[in-house]
Structure formats: C-alpha cells, structure tokens
C-alpha cells in the first residue's frame, strides 16, 4: 500500500470515526428536555 493511500485512508477514516463518536457522545451527554408538546402557533 502506497504512503499517499495510507495517509489519505487514515485521515478520512479517522476523521469520520472521530466525528461520529463526538456526535454520539454529545447526544448521550445532553440532558433530556422537559416535555413541552403544546402548539405555540
């Protein structure tokens, strides 16, 4: 495997993995909002 391919693969796959984990953790850490289903319009 060439160096450029390896760098590109690690960069893209690493970024996608980090972003996915970041958002997933953010969802898990965000507290649940109190129920407010009434229509304001």
């Amino acid at each position: 495997m060439s160096t450029s391919a390896l760098i590109f693969m690690v960069l893209v796959q690493g970024s996608v993995t980090l972003i996915t984990v970041y958002f997933f953790v953010k969802v898990l850490k965000t507290p649940k909002k109190p129920d407010s289903d009434e229509d304001e319009e």
Binding site: M1, F8, Q13, K26, K33, D39
Partner: protein, 559 residues
Amino acid sequence: MPKVKEAWGSRIGLILAMAGNAVGLGNFLRFPVQAIRNGGGAFIIPYLVSFLLMGLPLLWIEWSMGRYGGVKGNHSTPFIFGSMSKKRLWKYVGVFGIFTNLGIISYYTYIESWTLSYTFKSIAQSFSGLSRHQVSAAFDTYAGVHSPAAGHLVAVNFPVWAIVAFLITLTINIYILSKGLSGGVEKVAKIAMPLLLLFGVFLAIRAITLGATGVAGCATCNSHLGLDFLWKPKFNNLANPKVWLAAAGQIFFTLSVGMGTIHCYAAYVKKNEDIALNAMTAGWMNEFVEIVLGAAIVIPIAVGYMGIDWVKENASFMMAFKTMPFLFSQWGPILATLSGIAWFGLLFFAGITSSLAMGTPFMAFVEDEFGWGRKKSAVILGLIILILALPTIFFFEIGVFNEYDYWTGTVSLVIFATAEVILFSWIFGMDKGWKEITRGSDIRVPTIYKFIIKWITPVFILVIFISAMIKPLHGELVDWQLAFNQLLTHGTWPWASDSIISQVFHLNEKIIWFKQGAATPMFYKDMSRLLLLSTFLGLSFMVHLASKKRKLTAKSHIS
C-alpha cells in the same frame, strides 16, 4: 387533526432507527463498487463534498419538514407538504414519498430474503468445498435464473425456496411494523445496529489484516492493493463530471434522502426537541458504516483472492452472493462459517432496518387519514408489497427487478428531492425553514448552511436531475462537449441508454412487444412500468379522498 397514536420511546432509539434507515445493503455493496468504477481514490473527495453540500442539508430539510408536519398531525409526505404550502399540487408531489417506498420495499425485501437464506446456508456450511463457479451457479439455482431457451422467449423464474424465504422475510417485516414504532421498529434498531457494527468490524479487521494470499499465478492478490486502489488520491480525476455525478448519486442512496422515510420518522419528534444534532448523528453514523466499514470489506477481500484486474472488471452488487461465500471458504471451515454469518447477518440487519423504514410512510398515511389500526395497515401493506414484488421475482431474469430499481430507486428519489428542496427553501421560505432547523437544537448549526440550503443544494440537485434526464452516451466530460457540438451542428443529441428521456421513450431500442406470438422482455418491462404508474395513481386517488374527507370533517366542526 388526526390523532397521534405513535411515539418514539427514546432519543437513542430514534437515532438508531434513522441510522438503520440510512444504512442499507448499498453501504457495503454499492459504495465500494461505485468507488472502484470511478477511479478509486478520485471518488472519495467529490463524495465528501457532496455529503457536506447536499447530504447534510437534505437531512436537515427532511427532519425539519417531518417534525413541522408532525406537530400539525401530519405524518405522511402528502400532508406534510400540504401543511407547508396551500397549493394543492404539493400534496400530490408528496405522493412520491409513499410511492417510492412501496416500489423499493418490494424488491428490497426480496434481496433481504436472500441475505436471510444465505445466513442459514453459511451456518449449514453449504458452500464448503465448492469452486467459485459452483458458488456462483448455486445463486442462479437459488434465484431460479436460467438462460432463455431460445432468443426472444421469456424465461419465467419460479424459485420455490427463494419465494418461501421472501414470504418469511415479508412476514417478519409486517409483524415488526404491526408492533408500532417504539414497540417494533425501535426495538429492532437497538438490537440490529450494534450487531451490524460488531459484524462489520470483525470482517473489516479480517480484510485489512489479510495482506498477500499467495494465490498461484496472481501477483496482485493482496488485500492491501485493494485498499491502495480505493484510497490513493487521484486529483486529476476531479474535473470529470461523471465522477461527481456518481459521488452525488451515492450520497442520495446512502442517506436514504428523497424517499419520505426520514420525514415520516421525524414526524413523531416533539415540537421543541432537537433535530439538528439527531440528524448529524444519524448521518455521520451512516458515513462511518459506509466509509470505514463498507470500504474495508468486499473490495480488499476480493482483491486478496481474485486480483485487482478481476475486481476492476467484475465488481458488482451480485459479488455479495456469487463471490463472497467462495472467498470466505478459503479461510477454513470455522472462520468461513463465522464470516458467512457475519457477512449475511450484517446485510440482513442493514436490509431490515431499511425496509421497516420504507413500510412506515404508507402505514402512517392510512392510519392518519383513514383511521386504520396498526395491524390492519400492516397487513394491507404486506399484501401490496406481495403484489408488487411477485413480478420482480418471476421476471427477475428479464430485468423487471432493474426496472423497479430504476424508476422507484433512482428517478423518483431525484424528482422528490428536487421538489422538496424547492418547497422548503423557496416556497415555505428559508427564514421559516431555518427557524425550524434550529428550534430546540442541541448544536449550533453553522449559519453558512442558510446560504447553502437556499442556493447551493437546489443547484446541486437540479444539476443531477438535468444530467440524469439528458445524459449523453458514456457521460465523460468529452462526451458532454461532443453532445453539445452535435446539438448545435446537427440538431440531435446522443442519448445514453440510461438517461431518463431515453428510458421513457425507448429511444435507443425498437418497441416490440410480441415476436412470433410470444411476449418480448420489453412487454414485461413496460407492464411493470404500468403497474408502478397505477400504484402512483392509486395513491394519488387516496390522497384526493383523504383531502375531501378532511374538508368534510372541517366543515362539520364549523357547523
């Protein structure tokens, strides 16, 4: 306002169901094949750009349209669209959001049933000791595929076991759908998605660590060469419109945008609950499965045993069934069985989480508008799927399957996405739209996206739509230039056979329905088009009835 009977049980459940809707067979089969056919590393950059400029905006648009409609009691696209514009036309445009799903789910459930059968075949070690050709022939036997006895005569496929597996798969889907969103779809997503990831990681590690396999006479049989081809950046290919169109097309399919499923799922999100972070999380989860796992399984393993040239020539969707079992069998009986279970199990989970999503819009529509119960809606959905699916099974070999895929799985998606982005950005209005996207948001959506959604995304989709309509022969940059030259000098256009215009009018083929007293493949294909058109018209009529019913109810409330 129709009474809301459904709700999501938890935020994670909703995200996993949405990610499951997006993650499908295409993540593991279509993406690597598209990447191979479009220059490997050259494909990834346009793909990521398309994701940021078209995919993410469409996700936010669809989530917010769904929640907006759902708050007003509308859970199906005809009435979600209807709630965003007073013009009656939009309700009928919204029919695409039900029609597309009925069309796709019909043939998709059939493919899903192959994965279920092949999981059991792997457990039973049915492929042990078979040659590559025997494994390939085993699939043809399973699907009842045979060559027509003579010329134009149509071979009807009647694969008994494939039909039994299809009926079992359909029943499983209908049973889960009859249990509702939190009691059925969400529970399945919570089990299927983690298992899918587990199986995917197992296979990806095996593929990456495979390296050179030492196949006699094959110097390029090395999984790392497959990875090299997929990931070596080739910047000179970036000017090729064919690569961009293929990348943008892949983003469409992989995110399941332009279908109406996201609207439907999001319609059960409460008014002030977040959608921006949810959409990002589900979208990126799909990208993880596609870019990290999808790119690391089929191609590296296939190159490991067949060589890079064979893969470039033969990479296709059918490799999953015709080639992979043979490749797994090279790893010895225990690992071959485990890999077979992981591979087909993974595809089954990817398939079922998507087919469940595709079943939901029709059910939401009839439950909202006609007051049908969950079980009744599910059973009738099952019957419709059965009626639509049988032609794809019986006439699989002559291309009815592909016909469904082209019209419902390709053309309808682009039409629907073009319409929804215009409705959201220009008719509903970007200011109101932005408020919808950001209301209750748990992340700060970059304000540049207000501009992107209003200007860039519509142009992006319109270019894809127009290119698909008038695609010239071969579709490379030079072919477009030659086509315009030909138009200016001769007043004619060299239509590609898969351009929409060419397909609608059969431009590159003679219309012959009968030959020597027998129906030709074209006859069956045109009849399947008629069946799909009738389905669309039938759904439009149901929307018309529902609108009338709503008006009468509103009048009786006033009086």
